[in-house]
């Protein structure tokens, strides 16, 4: 049967068809839909993990217990799981184990554009790069085969374009091949990586790499498509389809397995051709390996190493043997920046933080958008949970410089559980008077409000015990734990002002439900009364998408966007904002 699937959905279809029985991950664009789609198969035990490392650890456990398993994450998520991954390479696996990483060239929804193919080389594990949804599905089968016959985790790397493009896929909805193995019990030489065992396994890893190299030469996913021989192209992933769009008649070496590389096939291909181009997104991962084999190619000399490629960029690279490094746009368009939702609980809170002139150290989440003007109230966003640690160090430096300013760390509820608890313990242990605001909006909002241990909702919409933030942080040794309602700006202002002069560490739990969770709630929208409005523009500083400059420089509230949160009414100094009559629903 033919279906029309995104790369992420195809991974899920493959997991079902080829007998993956356990899957875990942490939500993160562009990988979120892998787990969301897998969760629709009752045959697969699937779950959100608190973070990517735990997801991989649980998947390893499932593999050791004898079932095929998969862990899926976005590219930066693999950094979190990399501690486990590097040694997992030594231990190998019992039942097949796949690590799926989805990279984000061009940083459409990410803080960096690291090329995770480097992890395969770093960890000495095989790497597969599907180029469309059909391959994404087929490569699950191949990955499981490699994993089980070579005793290794397999890194399956997609890019956002492959993950989010939809292409035609052959699926067999009724076939599912489950292979059950007896649990592995007590092979300590293989799974206990104390130095004496690890040294032996390290030798195994090199032997495995040699065998994988030979496999890479044999596998049909690395194939030569002979054509015109004036020049040839070596490519992988989405770049293959861009290349086929531009020059379908040229000789192409299409690589599906890009680590280790098929050395014999590469030699056969390059010997027959005078000029060889390597077309790959991001790092010169293939080109450098070819270079170390003594094969000279043209790659990053003419194709950019940042952002996504496209048929047009490839065309330019091939024709001019050069590309313009500066981004040229035809017109200086006003950039359409992503915005916080109208009525988001973060709007008022960050408005107050800005008004009070706080130094706000944050990290990844919807609140990253608070760094944009006019709020401009967030001063760092580096990695998950890093705001708390950074705040501690910043405070130390302020002290040495003789400044008494209070430093605030902000962290979302899901991010707090992902990696905010350990830096909070460190903060208490090292006694820095930093205030940490946990932005509890009842979900992993940025990726579509997935549940997490703080909400007690599981991936399959089941219920679990909810983490009690207050009890948790009190037990860590924080004496000042304050809960506040983010929609009550009077309360927010009083609490933050008080904490900003108190020289003790504190945790403020800011409650305000994400509007994606609050869907269907009733409200009355607001309007601005022009006769009372003084055009001071204060309400615009809230940066609520529902409030815009209207005629004659009077701000105007868009009734259709307004969610009746009342934040603008609370900050209006001349009481010019009133509720309208008539109940509506958040949709």
């Amino acid at each position: 049967m033919m279906n029309f699937l995104s790369g992420n959905e195809a991974i899920a279809a493959g997991a079902y068809e080829f007998g993956v029985s356990f899957a875990a991950g942490y939500p993160g664009t562009p990988s979120t839909e892998i787990l969301e789609t897998i969760s629709q198969y009752p045959e697969i035990d699937s779950q959100w993990a608190v973070n990517e490392k735990v997801a991989l650890d649980v998947a390893i456990g499932a593999s050791l217990g004898g079932i095929r398993s998969l862990a899926a994450m976005k590219h930066v998520g693999l950094n979190v799981a990399s501690d486990t991954l590097m040694t997992l390479s030594y231990t190998g696996v019992h039942a097949g184990l796949i690590v799926v990483t989805v990279d984000d060239p061009n940083m459409n929804s990410s803080q960096n554009e690291q090329d995770n193919r480097n992890y395969a080389k770093f960890a000495k594990i095989p790497l597969l790069e599907p180029s469309d949804s059909q391959e994404a599905k087929d490569f699950i089968r191949l990955a499981l085969r490699i994993s089980e016959s070579f005793d290794t985790p397999v890194l399956l790397r997609l890019t956002a374009r492959v993950a989010h493009s939809k292409t035609v896929v052959k699926i067999n909805p009724k076939t599912r091949k489950v292979k059950r193995m007896n649990p592995c019990d007590g092979d300590s030489a293989k799974y206990v990586m104390i130095p004496s065992n690890a040294k032996k396994r390290r030798i195994f890893v090199d032997q495995r790499s040699d065998r994988l190299k030979r496999f890479s030469d044999k596998t049909p996913v690395n194939r030569i498509e002979w054509g015109e021989k004036n020049f040839g192209i070596i490519t992988s992933g989405i770049s293959y389809h861009y290349t086929m769009e531009v020059c379908p008649d040229q000789s192409i070496l299409k690589l599906g397995m890009t680590y280790p590389l098929p050395t014999e096939k590469i030699k056969e291909f390059t010997k027959a051709l005078k000029n060889v181009y390597v077309i790959e997104e991001l790092d010169p991962f293939l080109q450098e390996q070819l270079g170390s084999m003594g094969i000279k190619t043209t790659g990053k000399e003419v194709f950019p190493s940042t952002g996504e490629l496209s048929p047009d960029i490839i065309c330019r690279g091939l024709s001019k043997k050069g590309f313009q490094k500066t981004i040229t746009t035809r017109r200086k368009w006003p950039f359409r920046a992503p915005l916080l939702c109208a009525g988001c609980s973060y709007l008022g809170l960050f408005y107050i933080l800005k008004k009070l002139g706080m130094i706000v150290l944050g990290d990844i989440g919807c609140y990253s958008l608070c760094a944009q003007p006019p709020l401009s109230a967030l001063h760092t966003c580096i990695s998950m949970g890093s705001g708390i640690g950074i705040a501690q160090g910043y405070k130390k430096a302020l002290k040495q410089n003789g400044q008494k300013k209070k430093v605030i760390a902000v962290i979302g509820d899901s991010t707090f559980i992902h990696s905010g608890i350990t830096p909070l313990i460190d903060l208490i242990y090292n006694k820095e008077p930093v205030s940490v605001i946990i932005l509890d909006n009842g979900g992993t909002a940025m990726t579509g409000c997935q549940g997490h241990p703080g909400t007690g909702i599981t991936l399959k919409n089941g219920e679990s015990p909810k983490v009690n933030y207050e009890q948790l942080v009190k037990s860590l040794g924080i004496k000042r734990v304050i809960e506040m309602n983010s929609y009550n700006l009077g309360e927010v202002r009083t609490i933050i002002k008080k904490e900003s002069v108190c020289q003790k560490p504190s945790v403020i739990i800011a409650k305000g439900l994400c509007l994606l969770v609050a869907k269907g709630n009733q409200y009355e929208s607001f309007k601005i009364i022009p006769s009372r409005c003084t055009k001071c523009g204060e309400c615009l500083l809230l940066s609520c998408p529902a409030i815009a400059m209207g005629r004659n420089q009077y701000p105007r509230i868009d009734e259709k966007l307004c969610t009746g949160c009342s934040l603008c009414q609370q900050i209006c100094m001349v009481q010019a904002i009133e509720e309208t009559q008539g109940v509506q629903k958040i949709c």
């Binding site: 033919m2 029309f4 664009t29 562009p30 459409n108 929804s109 469309d132 956002a160 374009r161 989010h164 493009s165 939809k166 292409t167 035609v168 989405i238 389809h241 861009y242 086929m244 769009e245 531009v246 379908p248 496209s310 048929p311 047009d312 065309c315 035809r330 017109r331 368009w333 006003p334 950039f335 359409r336 920046a337 992503p338 915005l339 916080l340 939702c341 919807c366 958008l369 006019p374 940025m446 990726t447 579509g448 615009l540 940066s543 998408p545 409030i547 815009a548 400059m549």
Partner: protein, 193 residues
């Protein structure tokens, strides 16, 4: 560049139903026996950012991204987003757009282009443009959330594909309680002259 393919580019803003409209077209092409690829990045753009969706149908499609200058039809749901993409249109291609403007920076009016200048950019790139009035459409439909299906109805007139396939696909992809008004919008769109 591959021949014998139809390339449609949807441009709009998060929340306008661009992805649903492009999914419907793709599935109708698929049902009609063509190879199909679509591409749209989503995520952070959900929150009011630019949405761009490529739909390609034909005998054999390689790149999910439409090469510049190969776009047959641009479906513009918002003026500045349409004008932003207008230069990608093929010579002789058609831009079908709604004359609606959603400011990209609501706080700052000076950062906006006038509707007139945006329309001029569009018309210059595509003399075969077709403009749909936002005010009139909303007046007719009484609901701006189904504008995507309305414009899709007009788009369907460009192809000689059976009506049944369009309706079937819409029924498959749209929840039951919203089906009726979406089909109404689609059929109303087909009647735009």
């Amino acid at each position: 560049m591959s021949k014998k393919s139809v390339n449609i580019l949807f441009a709009g803003v998060g929340g306008q139903g661009v992805l649903l409209a492009s999914e419907i077209v793709a599935r109708v092409f698929l049902k009609s026996g063509y190879d199909v690829k679509t591409s749209a990045l989503h995520g952070i753009a959900q929150r009011g950012g630019t949405i761009l969706s490529h739909v390609r149908g034909g005998e054999k499609i390689y790149s999910p991204l439409i090469p510049h200058g190969a776009v047959d039809i641009i479906i513009g749901m918002e003026l500045s987003e349409t004008a932003r993409q207008a230069w990608k249109i093929k010579k002789g291609g058609c831009i079908l757009y709604i004359d609606r403007q959603i400011p990209s920076n609501r706080q700052n009016k000076t950062a906006r282009y006038s509707a007139k200048s945006l329309k001029n950019i569009i018309r210059e790139k595509s003399p075969k443009f077709m403009e749909i009035s936002y005010a009139e459409s909303v007046n007719l439909l009484k609901n701006e959330k189904i504008l995507n299906l309305f414009i899709l109805g007009r788009l369907s007139n460009y192809f000689t594909l059976p009506q049944r396939k369009w309706i079937e696909t819409i029924e498959q992809l749209i929840p039951f309680h919203m089906k009726e008004r979406n089909i109404f919008a689609f059929e109303a769109g087909q009647k735009i002259s």
